[in-house]
């Protein structure tokens, strides 16, 4: 069997059964990168020497019986906003173009401890600000299903790398949909956990109150397995939650009978592509066939989520990105006159237009005279949105809807109108505001053959329900990998 066709869990089983060595798995991935990444540009950094060194070490531990977990020996790609010790970490920005962290992000360390092999760092929208991976300082990433299209964003490199079999799974981060939307555009599984489930230590912050790290995988099984590995309380992250129910693979059960699923009417209105609508409603029908109770309901405030989100995320980002000033690390301008000129030139040359746009908006909404009208207003709106979800979850186990209004757009078609691009996040953003878990599962393709994602949203800490429903759906309808699609 072609090594690359394995899922992460299948691969590690094959390694344990000595059908494949870790080195062979790494080699297969690196060959695939060699062949495909010139076109796709999923990676900012590939470190083959380190990958081989890790492979050797991990193989020894597997052989010695010291590493028996389901990710042992599996090559993984990490979004380039997670710190990796001694490995370039750029956030796809010129301002961090030469930054080499002194420590590794907690989530990545947990993967390493489980025996995953880090292949490299994936491309993203600069500082995770964008929905297409076109704002990267290191070039756009292309969608492996059709290279004229974007892979989505901001974790576009991670999603595309999984879809193109340039890794077996990847980590992404999701502030307003940045895992789920590229997963949907690239036909892979992506999960954004409940806020506080995965440590943010080592994740370079965009909107701290919204950011969560999560898996991008080929299958729901892989997704549950990766989440189980990276979810843990971390005393280094004050917002990390202590929870006991992190044995997510226990939820890999093909059964949705009696599960109550709500479909918000507000998610199927104007602007939703008809192919997407058809595929998502068909998926709902599948779950109904499998015994779920599916009904429509009104989820208010959907239209307010985007302005609320952009206010809060921009405000936090404007503060989080103040540290990039040309003093301690990263880019410093060549010539300057005095301190403040150095700050201004370094930052203006180091940040791209989308980042500057959001930083300025953030500084403005926090500035004196506007704080109440914009920032506090957004926090009040957030409270109302949270309340609307709380009410919905008194009636439903899960909420079902599309991930994005359309499939992946053509390269270059989004950036010209930022506001329109922001509107594309309409179904994903509220989940971050309310701190909820959400999963994107492939549920078909449109007429042009581009993948469509189904979104399931759970109440806080209800990832298991998401996984169970997603798994049931996947078992019933089959995966939608490029390879599977070709065989079909």
């Amino acid at each position: 069997m072609n090594i690359l066709a394995y899922s992460a869990v299948e691969l590690s089983t094959a390694i344990k059964e000595k059908k494949i060595t870790v080195r062979e798995a790494v080699e297969a991935v690196l060959d695939q990168i060699d062949q495909k990444d010139k076109t796709l540009n999923c990676y900012v950094t590939v470190d083959s020497a380190k990958a081989y060194a890790q492979a050797e070490e991990i193989q020894k531990k597997i052989d010695a019986g010291e590493l028996a977990g389901p990710l042992a020996g599996v090559p993984v790609a990490i979004k380039d906003n997670m710190c990796t010790k001694d490995m370039l970490t750029t956030c796809s920005s010129k301002i961090l173009g030469n930054f080499i962290p002194a420590f590794t992000a907690e989530a990545v360390e947990r993967l390493q401890a489980a025996g995953a092999v880090i292949i490299g760092k994936t491309n993203m929208d600069e500082f995770a600000m964008g929905s297409t991976t076109e704002t990267s300082a290191f070039g756009v990433t292309r969608n492996p299903w059709n290279t004229e299209h974007v892979p989505g964003g901001s974790s576009g490199g991670s999603a595309a790398a999984v879809a193109a079999e340039e890794c077996f799974f990847a980590l992404g981060s999701d502030t307003g949909g940045s895992i789920r939307q590229p997963a949907s555009y690239c036909g892979v599984v992506g999960l954004k956990p409940t806020y506080g489930t995965v440590s943010r230590y080592g994740l370079i912050a965009y909107g701290s109150s919204l950011d969560q790290i999560g898996p991008l995988t080929k299958t729901v099984t892989d997704c549950a397995t990766v989440l189980e590995t990276i979810a843990a309380h971390d005393s280094k992250d004050s917002t990390s939650v202590e929870r006991e129910d992190t044995d997510f693979t226990k939820a890999l059960v093909e059964d949705v009978s009696g599960m109550k699923i709500g479909i918000p009417r507000d998610y199927f209105g104007e602007g939703l592509d008809s192919d997407v609508k058809t595929a998502v409603l068909a998926a709902a029908e599948t779950l109904k066939q499998k015994g779920a109770i599916v009904e429509e309901f009104d989820l208010p405030l959907v239209d307010y989520a985007i302005p609320c989100y952009y206010t809060i995320a921009a405000a936090e980002a404007s503060s989080n990105l103040e540290r990039f000033d040309g003093i301690k690390y990263g880019y410093r301008t060549e010539s300057y006159e005095g301190l403040h000129n150095m700050y201004k030139k370094s930052r203006s040359e180091g940040f791209g237009p989308e980042v500057k746009r959001r930083i300025m908006l953030g500084a403005f909404v926090l500035s004196s005279g506007y704080f109440d009208a914009y920032y506090l207003k957004a926090l009040r709106t957030k409270a109302l949105i949270k309340k609307a979800f709380d009410e919905a979850f008194t009636k439903y186990d899960l909420i079902l809807g599309p991930v994005a209004p359309t499939t992946a757009p053509v390269l270059g078609s989004s950036l010209s109108d930022p506001l329109k691009m922001y509107l594309g996040d309409i179904y994903t953003i509220a989940v971050n505001l309310a701190g909820l878990p959400g999963i994107s599962v492939p549920c078909g393709t449109d007429k042009a053959g581009m993948p469509i994602g189904l979104q399931l949203i759970g109440d806080c800490f209800q990832e298991k329900k998401l996984i169970q429903a997603a798994y049931t759906y996947e078992k019933t309808c089959g995966g939608f990998s490029i390879a599977a699609e070709r065989e079909r």
Binding site: C91, F103, Y201, S208, R323, I327
Partner: protein, 477 residues
């Protein structure tokens, strides 16, 4: 035209460095000194991806200071970010508190020549200190050391209740004493563990409204504070008399030139864009926790004075001096607890210790010697093992180096010679060698005996018991 009479209105922002072992949001040491940037980690150097976690001791100290200054404790409090760019601040925002500071609405009582009064405390909040900037003359650039970055501070913001430099100093002394008693800080102005920013405005006596205030920074001694207040008052009066307006601004006091300078720059917009820090969670101080902290509050000065009056037979004057420093009071009590007589302990503190502190320009908080060593020294005198003048000599060494006096006396052969035979022999020789003094003594010149005692002590290298010398001399004469 009648001369106008102006009133000075002063409020203080006092930053106090807390005596924790580690920084406010990371496990780096707060110890002074160390090579540049050696007490740093990703958190206190603002590395991307790092996150803060609050040091519990910081909160407990802040609450303790709030209780000691009669504040209301905010039982649901939060941290906010104060955003401004400056190289001593690695994140370019300071984690501080604006909306829900830990303590509010307190007061302390001060006493000056003008009498007693309360100074209101508007709030006390927790925040992180900045790093240190050093100017490099050689390359005409600045260098940043983040060892102090993240050291915990509390900022005590007073109401504009003070009217003179005297009141300001009395207020600072009072705060210093309370905080030292709590053990929350050593509050040394010179070393920067206590720093004061002075907000000052003037108004015509009796005017209902406050004038425009300025804020003066960089005041690191009581003298500088007093000078700065007088200087700024004069500057503002001059402006008003000339019909000009006082501008609300931050000024920097130069103690050498005795003048304050405006710190104005277009690039320093005073718009800090405070918002709740999303990386830190709210703090809930439960009633139980609050009572626990209350129960741990130490005995403060007033209570201590009352107890000393009851327990120890020492003069009021001594009590006043000893309790003016928590460290000295602790030393006093510990030495007495080791079995020494209170009055004798007090004497060593009041006389020799005070003299040496003054000579060395030190504070009582800087006393290094241990109660064990003071007790041992007093015991040596009590046991007549050394005489008074030797004791003073030994004490200087104890004061300086905290040596064990017993061992020191032993090693330097300073023990009083109690061998009566040897002493009698020496005295006999001295009497024999000084017939003139003997004759003077017999002729009623009492002074002559003093000379003979002196000669004897000299011969004994000061190690004789003066009582015994007198007794033997009188016998022989």
């Amino acid at each position: 035209m009648a001369q106008k009479i102006y009133e000075t209105v002063i409020g203080l922002e006092v930053h106090v460095e807390l005596a924790t072992k580690t920084k406010i949001f990371c496990g780096c040491s707060t110890e002074f000194g160390g090579a540049p940037n050696s007490h740093t980690c990703p958190v206190c150097t603002g590395m991307p991806g790092s996150l803060p976690v609050l040091n519990k001791q910081v909160l407990e100290y802040a609450v303790a200071v709030g209780l000691a200054t009669n504040c209301n404790i905010t039982q649901y409090c939060k941290f906010d970010r104060k955003n401004y760019f400056y190289p001593d601040n690695p994140q370019n925002y300071q984690i501080s508190q604006l909306y829900l500071p830990i303590c509010r609405n307190g007061h302390v009582e001060i006493e000056t020549a003008a009498g007693k009064k309360n100074v209101g405390i508007h709030e006390i909040h927790m925040e992180e200190d900045a790093g240190k900037l050093i100017h490099d003359e050689w390359e005409d650039c600045s260098l940043v050391d983040y060892n102090r970055s993240g050291v915990p501070l509390i900022e005590i913001v007073s109401e504009p209740d003070m009217r003179s430099a005297d009141e300001v100093i009395a207020y600072l002394e009072k705060l210093r004493l309370l905080i030292q008693y709590l053990g929350a800080s050593d509050c040394k102005l010179q070393e920067g563990s206590m720093r004061a920013d002075v907000n000052l405005s003037i108004r015509e006596m009796g005017a209902p409204e406050f004038g425009t205030r300025t804020e003066m920074k960089n005041l690191n001694s009581f003298k500088a504070i007093a000078h700065a207040i007088d200087g700024e008052r004069a500057r503002q009066i001059e402006l008003l008399e000339e019909g000009k307006a006082v501008i609300q601004e931050t000024r920097r006091w130069d103690d050498n030139k005795e003048y304050s300078y405006a710190m104005r720059s277009k690039e320093d917009a005073q718009d800090y864009r405070y918002f709740p820090d999303p990386d830190l969670t709210p703090i809930v101080v439960s009633d139980e926790w609050l009572s626990e902290i209350k129960a741990k509050q130490p005995e403060f000065r007033t209570e201590k004075i009352a107890r000393y009056q009851k327990e120890f037979d020492i003069p009021e004057y001594d009590i006043d001096i000893i309790t003016s420093s928590k460290h000295m009071a602790d030393l006093f009590e510990a030495t007495v607890a080791l079995g020494r007589e209170p009055k004798k302990v007090s004497n060593w503190l009041m006389v020799e210790t005070m003299r040496l502190l003054k000579e060395n320009m030190m504070d009582p908080e800087d006393i290094k010697y241990s109660p064990e060593h003071l007790a041992a020294l007093i015991k040596l005198v009590d046991d007549k093992a050394i005489n008074g003048s030797v004791a003073k000599e030994v004490f200087e060494v104890v004061f300086k180096e905290d040596v064990d006096p017993v061992q020191y006396v032993e090693e330097h052969g300073l023990k009083t010679v109690n061998d009566e035979g040897a002493l009698r022999k020496t005295i006999e020789e001295i009497v024999a060698a000084n017939p003139q003094s003997v004759e003077d003594y017999h002729n009623g010149k009492e002074k002559a005996i003093g000379f003979l005692v002196g000669q004897t002590m000299k011969a004994m290298h000061g190690k004789a018991d003066p009582g015994m010398v007198n007794q033997i001399l009188k016998e022989l004469l």
